[in-house]
Symmetry: C2
Subunit: 258 residues, 2 copies
């Protein structure tokens, strides 16, 4: 029997520690091809490159990449998945994994997440996909606890499939190497960011802003991803790209629009 | 009574005909402030600018902009909304409108859409929001049929509100000036893009790609946005940013992950 094929990508760029760990973990299970951005793409949401050109370079690296078919691209995470599926790969992958992101993509962060946009792009094309994020922004983060989480979920996804129209948003608590308490299937917590713009003046007198802000949790539910993570569990949110708010249709149908 | 306040933005840039028409249509109804990108941002999805600076310039223009408080920014559509709400506006707007996009944002295009990302950003911050798109990519598109559609929906939204957690994705068929047949509240049609990458070589011998592709409708339903548009109706899809796929939780809970 042929080994399953896993496409690996991310949004922090091909040289991030997170993707290097992800490659190490999944190549014990499957044949791996990597197509990842050549530079960090955090906050890119579901951006794709139109009206501009894309470059692709074959990588010849040691470490996790040794002996692998791997490419960097000038595009976004969603571009990487499109390029891999339609230009680079000879066969359809059995699974696409994205990450391991350096930092959380729980709650409302999913909509800003390049990591998840790659997984969603794969899902749109009918391929099972999982985005992995670790709640540690540090480049020197400890990924030890991620190994069994990721290998367990990848094996289950390959074995049992992921329902059509759904991709998984997996966030892993920061444990500094200790094992996680377990995993929970959750809903996305309601939250937003309270933005602050740090206004500065350049040496030449030009005003500019840096975006900063605080995460505001608007959800006391115990069944959310935030609650699971705070309790030391991995959160798994089944995530869809059919955005229709069916529960709001009756209200809009009550408008005088006919 | 104070006139309602409407924030106008888009993803084609402040000088696009679409946003100029949108401003003309809504300033008959409300006080208007414009905060829009200084250049086209199509395909930006829900990108935000982190790890980079943002510039804001006050605009002093004639035509639709005459006498208005208006700004261009170096950011994405989502950045424009964040800047408006947290830095520029003195009071919370009653409604955010984005568009009129030059080209469709129906079906799966919603996830790639800068126009809709601005509306979604407003929705996340608890402000009613609508994204408008016209099914005509041309810069010289005829926006006549959009006027009554937009004014009707803006008045209804101000009067009756939009349910919390929901923003509206409104697409308007190309009629070349004739009235639309009516409006339908729809679900997002299932579809994807069959990508093709046009591979070329630069004068200096460097290979690069252009993304192109065909829209593939995977949905025969008569209740979708695509079906409404094909029949000559405006499609209104209530769109949510809680991406939880509740119907897939049981499947993932059946995995051996505990």
């Amino acid at each position: 029997m042929k080994r399953p094929l896993i496409l690996v990508t991310n949004d922090d760029g091909y040289n991030a520690p997170g993707i290097n760990h992800l490659i190490e973990f999944v190549k014990e299970i499957a044949e791996v091809v990597v197509v990842a951005p050549d530079s960090p793409q955090s906050g890119m949401g579901h951006a794709i490159t139109i009206d501009s050109t894309l470059e692709v370079h074959r990588l010849d690296l040691d470490g996790a990449y040794k002996g692998l078919q791997a490419y960097s691209t000038s595009g976004t995470p969603a571009d990487c998945v499109k390029l891999a599926l339609h230009e680079i790969l000879d066969r359809k992958p059995d699974l696409v994994v994205s990450g391991i992101n350096h930092g959380a993509n729980s709650s409302i962060n999913v909509i800003y997440s390049g990591t998840m946009s790659a997984a969603i792009e794969a899902g749109v094309e009918g391929i099972p996909a999982i985005g992995f994020s670790l709640l540690d922004y540090s480049w020197g983060a400890n990924f030890d606890a991620c190994k069994s989480v990721i290998q367990t979920l990848v094996k289950e996804a390959l074995d049992k499939g992921i329902p059509s129209g759904t991709v998984l948003n997996v966030n892993i608590p920061k444990t500094d190497g200790a094992a996680v308490k377990g995993m929970r299937v959750c809903r996305q917590a309601k939250a937003n960011w309270k933005e602050r713009f740090d206004k500065r003046v350049s040496p030449t007198g030009k005003e500019y802003y840096w975006l900063t802000g605080d995460f505001i949790l608007l959800d006391e539910g115990e069944d959310t991803d935030i609650a699971a993570l705070e309790a030391g569990y991995v959160s798994i949110v089944p995530t869809q790209f059919d955005l229709t708010a069916h529960h709001s249709m009756a209200h809009i149908n009550s408008w005088k629009i006919y």
